[in-house]
Amino acid sequence: MTRSNIALLVLIAAVAALPLFGGAYALRLGTIACLYAVLALSWNVVGGLAGYPSFATAAFFGYGAYAAGVLLGHGWPLWAAVAFATLSAFVAAAALGAVLLRLRGHYFAIASLSLAEVLRELVNNATDLTGGGMGLNIPLASGAGIMAEATFFFFAMWGVLLATALMAIIVGGSKLGFALACIRQNETASSMVGLNTTLYKAAAFGLSACFVSAAGGIYAAWVHYIDPSDVFDVLYSVKPIVMALMGGLGSPLGVACGAFLYLGLEEVVWRNYIQIHTGVLGLLIVLLLLFLPHGLSSLRPDRLWRRVKHV
C-alpha cells in the first residue's frame, strides 16, 4: 500500500474521533463531510481514473435516497433498505454505463447530466409510490435522543465513507484501476491491446454509483423528508467535481482532502457572507484552481522545501 493510501485511512480514522469532541453541530458537519467525501471519491473512479466527466452523481444520490426512503416507509430496517439501494444502483448503473459510456467527452457529460433529470421526472410522476412533488416523509428511527441519533447517522455515513475509501484504494491497485488508466490515456490503443473497454467502463460506473446510492439512502433516513428538487439537485453532481479538482484528480487522498476543504470553505463563507455566499464561494474556487490547478495533492512538502532552499 502506498504512503498516500495509508494517509487516507489515517485521515478517515481521525474523522471517526469527532463525537468525542463535538456537539450536535459538529456531528452534523461531520456527517456532511463524510457524505461529500463519499460523493467525491465515487466520482473520482469514473471522472478521475477513466477520464469520463460524469454528471450522474445527483442521479444516483437521488435514486438511493428514494429507493431507501420508500422501503423504509414500507417498514424495512435501515440496513436492508440501504443494501437494496446499493445493489440495485450497481446493477442499474453498470447496465446504463454500458450504453452511456459509448459517448465520449462533452456528449457523455450531457447524457449523464440528463440522467438525473429523467429520474426526477419519474419520481415526480410516480405519485403513489414517492409522493411526487409533495416529497416523501420517512419514518423516524427509534425514539432515541437527539445526540444518540446524530451519533448514529454520523457513524453510518462514516461507515459508507470507509467502504468507499477501501473501494478506491483497492481499485487503484487492481487490474480495473490499471485498465481505467489505460482508457483515460488512449482508448483506441486500449482496445487494440485486448482490453474490453465497455466491460471495464461499465464496472467503474456501477462501482461509482453504488456508494453514492448508499450515501443517499442514509441521507434520506437522516433528514426524514426528501423531495425531488432536493435530492436530484444538480449541485450534487457539480460539487464532487469541484472537490476532486481542488484535491487533485485521480488521487484518493487528494480527493478526500478536497471534499473536506470544500465543506470548510462552504461553512465559513456561508456564515460570513449571508447575502453573497455563492458568489464568494465561486470566486474562492476559481482562485484556488487558478493557483493550484493540480489540486492539493500537487503540494508536496519536499518540493516546497526544495523551492524554499533555492530562493
Binding site: 487492481s174 487490474k175 490499471f178 485498465a179 488508466a181 489505460c182 490515456q185 488512449n186 483506441t188 490503443a189 486500449s190 482496445s191 487494440m192 491491446v193 485486448g194 482490453l195 474490453n196 473497454t197
Partner: protein, 249 residues
C-alpha cells in the same frame, strides 16, 4: 505452408469512398508479406478491417480457421492479431514498462498485473529499451516509441503481426536497427504483414509482396517479380525507380 489468414472478396466503403474493393488475399504461416501502394490506397484500412476497427461491409475474413469478419477489436487482439500504429499510440503517462505490461495484461485472459510487468521486462529488453523501462512514454524519442510499439505488439503473443510503417520518420541507422529486429522476429516464426514505403526494407525483408491501388489488389507475388510488373511501376514505383533497378532484376 498452411494458411493463417484469408480475405475473401472483402470490401469496405466510407459513405461514398470505396476504400477496399473485393480484396482477396491469403497469408501463409511464417511468411513476411509486404503490403505496398501509394498513399490513400487503403493499406491501413485493410489492417483496420482485419482487426475489427472498421469491419468489412461485405466479404469474409478468416483467421486460423475462425470467421472474424464481425469481430470486436479487443477480441481480435486476444486471438493473436496484433499491430503497431502508423502514428504511435503509447499510453503517454505510463512508463515504458507499464505500456508493455498493459499489452501483456489485457491480451491474455487471467494474466496478473505482477506477471505482466515481469513479461514486459523481457520484451523491452528484446527491442533494446531496458534502460528506459521506468521513463514515461511521453519522454521517449520517436525511434524509441516505435520500438515501444513493437514491444507492446510482441507482449500480446501475436500469431500475426501487422507492422504499419514502423520505419517512417526514422534515420538510416534507426531503420537498420528496426530491420534487424524484424528479421529476428521473422526468424522466430511470427507471421508478419508489413506496410512499408522504404523499398530497400521491403525487398530486404519480405518473402512476398502485394500491391494495393485505389482499394484494389493489383499485384501479388515474389518481390523481384512484383517490382518489375508494369502495373505496379505505373501506379506506385514510377519509371525512374524501374530504370534504376532494371539492372538488378
Amino acid at each position: 505452408m498452411s494458411e493463417l489468414l484469408r480475405l475473401e472478396r472483402v470490401s469496405r466503403h466510407f459513405s461514398g469512398l470505396q476504400a477496399l474493393r473485393d480484396v482477396t488475399l491469403s497469408v501463409a504461416r511464417g511468411e513476411v508479406l509486404g503490403l505496398i501502394g501509394p498513399n490513400g490506397a487503403g493499406k491501413t484500412t485493410l489492417v483496420n478491417t482485419i482487426c475489427g476497427v472498421t469491419p468489412a461491409n461485405s466479404g469474409t475474413v478468416t483467421f486460423d480457421g475462425t470467421d472474424i469478419t464481425r469481430i470486436k477489436t479487443y477480441q481480435a487482439a486476444r486471438l493473436g492479431l496484433s499491430r503497431t500504429f502508423q502514428i504511435v499510440q503509447p499510453f503517454s503517462e505510463f512508463t515504458a514498462l507499464d505500456n508493455v505490461a498493459a499489452a501483456a495484461l489485457f491480451s491474455q485472459p487471467g494474466a496478473s498485473l505482477k506477471g505482466a510487468r515481469e513479461a514486459a521486462r523481457a520484451h523491452l529488453a528484446f527491442v533494446g529499451l531496458e534502460a528506459q523501462a521506468l521513463q514515461p512514454a511521453a519522454t521517449l524519442t520517436l525511434a524509441m516509441r516505435k520500438r515501444l510499439e513493437l514491444a507492446k505488439a510482441l507482449a500480446m503473443k501475436p500469431k500475426l503481426l501487422f507492422l504499419d510503417e514502423v520505419n517512417a520518420g526514422l534515420n538510416s541507422a534507426e531503420v537498420e536497427r528496426a530491420t534487424r529486429l524484424i528479421h529476428e522476429l521473422a526468424a522466430g516464426g511470427i507471421t508478419i504483414v508489413m506496410i512499408e514505403h522504404l523499398m530497400k526494407v521491403v525487398l530486404n525483408v519480405c518473402t512476398r509482396i502485394v500491391v494495393l491501388h485505389n482499394g484494389t489488389l493489383i499485384a501479388d507475388g515474389a518481390p523481384r517479380e512484383v517490382i518489375s510488373n508494369p502495373a505496379v511501376v505505373e501506379a506506385y514505383l514510377g519509371q525512374k525507380y524501374a530504370q534504376r533497378n532494371a539492372g538488378h532484376g
